[in-house]
């Protein structure tokens, strides 16, 4: 018998079975797949966190509403905050960094691919652990399920005396586990940028995206550690008879605040610096100009990185620090507005004299600039410590940080989705749906978060499940809740667009934006090895040099 008689189907023509494909994704160490997994994971949690926010907004739509009990409301804001910071924003910035950094640096993968996979799975299991509390936290006590101590979990509310059952344990362990994942990714990002750049790409010729992510990665290494340490101390308090935060035995509730905010404030910059990174790519390409003041942008970012670690106690102006302490944190906090302002001016200068193309990524970038400006200005109001004594812990501060996290960070990341979707999927997204998403979300955002400042000025504290009529808060709360409808519609359009374009979108080609960084020189989606031949660069915009041989960048840099 001859084996020639049997016609084997070529392995190319058939898609492998589902189980095999799943196995490939789960065991992958490819930075692009891990990046996409981070992003998809974050999107799932974005929907969950959004539902939690919606529950809270329905409860607050009118005074003395009884849509949910106080216990459920308290769990909702704890889970919403924890989810959005640790399992939406962090995975999103890590996802984009993972996917894009090797492509922009002309490398074939991250420096430590296995560590990369390990970090992703730690983060992923951290999120699952947090939500397993809904089933597991009752323990033997029947003491309620999801954590209800707030996302910064001030001591001593987290001690066994006030938090029976296991809800706080799930919160602590989930942040501990995902914190190790974050540190792993921080190591990987720094190592990749330091050591994996292609020939010719000196530090001064990296895309700004890489510079900003380098600062972000370094900050993760420094500031996630105190959070992790604090979680371990909390567990020692809860189960091994420790007294770090046990105020009845001489422990200090204030120490927890310091540990949390020395993480918590730089964390804002860990999230917003990658957003700056996206804007620093999108604004030049859609204004058709090179980035204005590249060295100053790098310097300002490094300055923000250092300064951001000296401002944490501005979250603690009301805890009774000395005059000296308060004054110190006023000046450091106000000082950080200088490098931040410089960044806004440089983006403006990049647009100045350009030819601005209003595609969806640029719309989101302009939204970012406008909203980040306002968020920075309300930040200055909060930095003035005496005014902060009125504003902090009120809805004003809630509006302020949502302006930063949604108005700036999420807007920039939405821009990133549309900008790199063609590269990641190989398909072009639907521009009409993209613009619908932008306008719906913009209207919803401003209805919700512009008007949220006002009840704060009128004395409405955050984290209250209900309020009495006659405080002048009800009209504003109604508007705030109406805004949620528009935001939710916007996100639905966005997700529909991602799915629809993946199956029905037109082929995008390698370089749909006529852009200038290395990721646009390879195919869409890129092959597993990224580049067939190792690229060599002579300037910050290698593809500009290629497209304009008569006027290359390297003559001017």
């Amino acid at each position: 018998m001859s084996t020639d008689a049997i016609a084997w189907p070529s392995s190319e023509s058939l898609s492998p079975p589902f189980v095999d494909r799943l196995h490939e994704w789960i065991t992958t160490v490819d930075h692009k797949r891990l990046g996409i997994m981070y992003i998809v994971y974050a999107l799932i949690f974005l929907v969950i966190g959004g539902i939690e926010a919606t529950v809270m907004r329905i409860q607050l739509i009118r005074p003395l509403n009884d849509f949910v009990s106080p216990q459920v409301f308290n769990r909702m804001f704890t889970m919403h905050g924890t989810t959005m910071i640790f399992f939406v924003a962090m995975p999103l910035v890590f996802g984009f960094a993972n996917y894009l950094l090797p492509l922009m640096l002309g490398a074939r993968d991250m420096a430590f691919p296995r560590l990369n996979a390990f970090s992703f799975w730690l983060t992923a299991f951290g999120g699952l652990l947090l939500y397993f509390s809904v089933l597991g936290a009752n323990g033997l006590y029947g003491a309620g399920n999801a954590p209800d101590v707030g996302w910064f979990a001030y001591a001593p509310l987290t001690s066994l005396a006030f938090s029976t059952g296991h809800s706080t344990d799930f919160w602590t362990l989930s942040l501990l586990v995902s914190g190790f994942g974050s540190i792993g990714t921080g190591v990987n990002i720094v190592a990749t940028i330091i050591s994996m750049r292609c020939p010719g790409m000196t530090l001064g010729k990296m895309p700004l995206f890489a510079w900003l992510n380098l600062v972000m990665g370094a900050m993760v290494l420094v500031v996630v550690s105190p959070l992790t340490a604090a979680q371990i101390m909390l567990m020692i308090d809860r189960y091994l008879g420790g007294h770090f935060f046990d105020t009845q035995a001489g422990g200090s509730a204030v120490i927890w605040m310091h540990f949390f905010w020395i993480f918590g404030h730089p964390e804002v910059y860990i999230l917003v610096i990658p957003a700056f990174a996206v804007i620093s790519e999108v604004v030049p390409v859609f204004s058709r100009k090179t980035m204005f003041g590249y060295p100053v942008m790098v310097g300002a970012t490094v300055a923000i990185g250092f300064l951001s670690m000296s401002v944490w106690a501005h979250h603690m102006f009301t805890v009774g620090m000395s005059q000296m302490g308060n004054t110190f944190f006023v000046i450091t906090t106000m000082a950080i507005s200088v490098p931040t302002g410089i960044k806004i001016f440089n983006w403006l200068a990049t647009m100045w004299g350009g030819k601005i193309i209003f595609k969806t990524p640029m719309l989101f970038a302009i939204g970012f600039l406008f909203q980040f400006l306002i968020a920075g200005l309300t930040g200055i109001m909060l930095a003035a410590a005496p005014w902060d004594w009125q504003l902090t812990a009120s809805y004003f501060v809630v509006a302020h940080f949502h302006y930063v996290i949604v108005g700036a960070i999420i807007f920039a990341l939405f821009g990133a989705f549309y900008y790199w979707y063609p590269k990641m999927s190989g398909k072009m997204y639907n521009e009409t749906l993209g613009q619908w998403h932008f306008w719906l979300f913009l209207i919803g955002f401003h209805l919700t978060f512009d008007f949220m400042h006002i009840p704060g000025l009128l004395g409405m504290p955050r984290r209250i499940y209900t309020y009495e009529p006659g405080r002048g808060w009800e009209g504003w709360n109604l508007i705030v809740t109406i805004g949620v409808v528009f935001q939710a519609l916007g996100v639905l359009v966005f997700i529909y667009n991602l799915l629809w374009s993946y199956f029905r979108g037109e082929a995008a080609g390698n370089d749909p934006w006529d852009a200038w960084t290395l990721e646009w020189s390879t195919s869409s989606p890129p092959p597993a090895y990224n580049f067939a031949t190792m690229p060599t660069v002579r300037s910050r915009r290698p593809l500009w040099d290629l497209k304009h041989p008569e006027d290359p960048d390297w003559k001017y840099e």
Binding site: L157, G293, R463
Partner: protein, 351 residues
């Protein structure tokens, strides 16, 4: 200093305009409260809140100016530099940067920051822990899960949830100095029209002060999440004329007046779990976990401001506290109707 004053004035006018607009907006939504809200931080009536208000006007005017300039430039460049339909398809001139421009937009923000910092530091220095005159009223406020305990150590008065202080004439100030302690978790004392908030943290004593300029009721509430019923840990500050305040102190120092008609209720009170947590001066009841009830009927509200103090609400509060404040630490007492009536009758004698 002089220029800053005038900026303050100018800003004051702008901000007052904004506030009027806001109040119109609020009126449209049917808010029935005075000026805009009884807890409006822009309606200060005490020195700390006043100082903060003046600082806020300065900061607001500076930030509003920055917003108009930078936001205007942004809007201008978006409109002016959009790609035109008749575009020639060529790339615009590539500009790599300019040291002079960078220097300018570094130095100007630095100067603005210095001005803001100086104004802020001055208010910190004047508002935080100034020396108190000898005639200042000393109060110790102790935060408990979902209610406030007030002690007047010099005046030998203990009460709960409704703070009484004398009005302070700016010519002859009689400020009230409040030590802030916590019995359990973190809380925060915030009466927006009187002062900014200060936290009550266990094992970490803090203090604040107020000198209200007008009599009346000032509202506020706990501003640091402290557990399930954080939302209904309301603050009520009654600012009284000196005479009224002195009379109130006199009344509060009296022991409870028993009456024969209520002796059955008193017996129930003293033989059930009530006295584990509540005190009534002059009787065996000396519990300290819950509010002192010696002069319960002198208070307008019960359950830390969650409900008006009337017989029906008292009964509801004793029998099923969860209908008023679910998750509060007051247990449902499960008394018979007859006992409940007798107990409420006793409580109503605690004037």
């Amino acid at each position: 200093m002089r220029t800053e004053k005038s900026t303050n004035l100018l800003a004051g006018e702008t901000v007052r305009g904004v506030i009027v607009l806001l109040s119109l907006g609020s009126a449209a939504f049917g808010a029935s409260a005075p000026p805009l809200s009884p807890t409006n931080i822009f309606a200060p009536n005490s020195t700390p809140a006043d100082s903060i208000f003046n600082l806020s006007l300065f900061v607001l005017s500076v930030t509003a100016g920055i917003f108009v300039i930078v936001g205007g430039l942004l809007a201008y460049s978006v409109v002016k530099f959009r790609k035109r339909t008749n575009d020639d398809g060529r790339e615009p001139p590539q500009v790599y940067g300019s040291n002079q421009v960078e220097l300018a937009w570094t130095v100007i923000p630095v100067l603005i920051v210095v001005a803001l910092f100086m104004a802020t530091a001055r208010v910190i220095a004047t508002v935080q822990h100034p020396p108190m005159p000898d005639n200042a009223i000393e109060v110790v406020a102790i935060g408990h899960q979902y209610w406030w305990e007030y002690r007047y150590p010099g005046l030998k008065v203990v009460t709960a949830n409704e703070l009484h202080v004398p009005v302070s004439d700016p010519a002859h100030p009689t400020p009230t100095h409040i030590d802030l302690l916590s019995a359990d978790t973190d809380h925060s004392f915030w009466v927006p029209r009187l002062a900014g908030k200060t936290d009550l943290i266990p094992n970490h004593p803090n203090s604040t002060w107020i000198d209200p300029h007008e009599t009346g009721l000032y509202l506020g509430q706990c501003a640091q999440y402290c557990g399930t019923q954080h939302a209904k840990m309301l603050l009520r500050v009654y600012v009284q004329s000196q005479q009224d305040f002195d009379r109130w102190i006199q009344e509060q120092r009296e022991p409870a007046h028993g009456s024969d008609a209520a002796s059955r209720g008193q017996h129930i009170f003293e033989t059930t779990a009530c006295i584990n947590c509540h005190a009534v001066a002059g009787t065996v009841a000396d519990g300290r976990f819950g509010p002192d009830l010696t002069h319960l009927m002198s208070r307008d509200t019960i359950a830390a401001g969650a409900a008006p103090n009337n017989p029906e609400n008292l009964k509801r509060w004793i029998q099923s506290p969860d209908t008023i404040k679910p998750g509060s630490l007051m247990p449902a007492m499960q008394l018979s109707d007859r006992d409940l009536g007798a107990l409420t009758a006793y409580l109503e004698t605690l004037r």
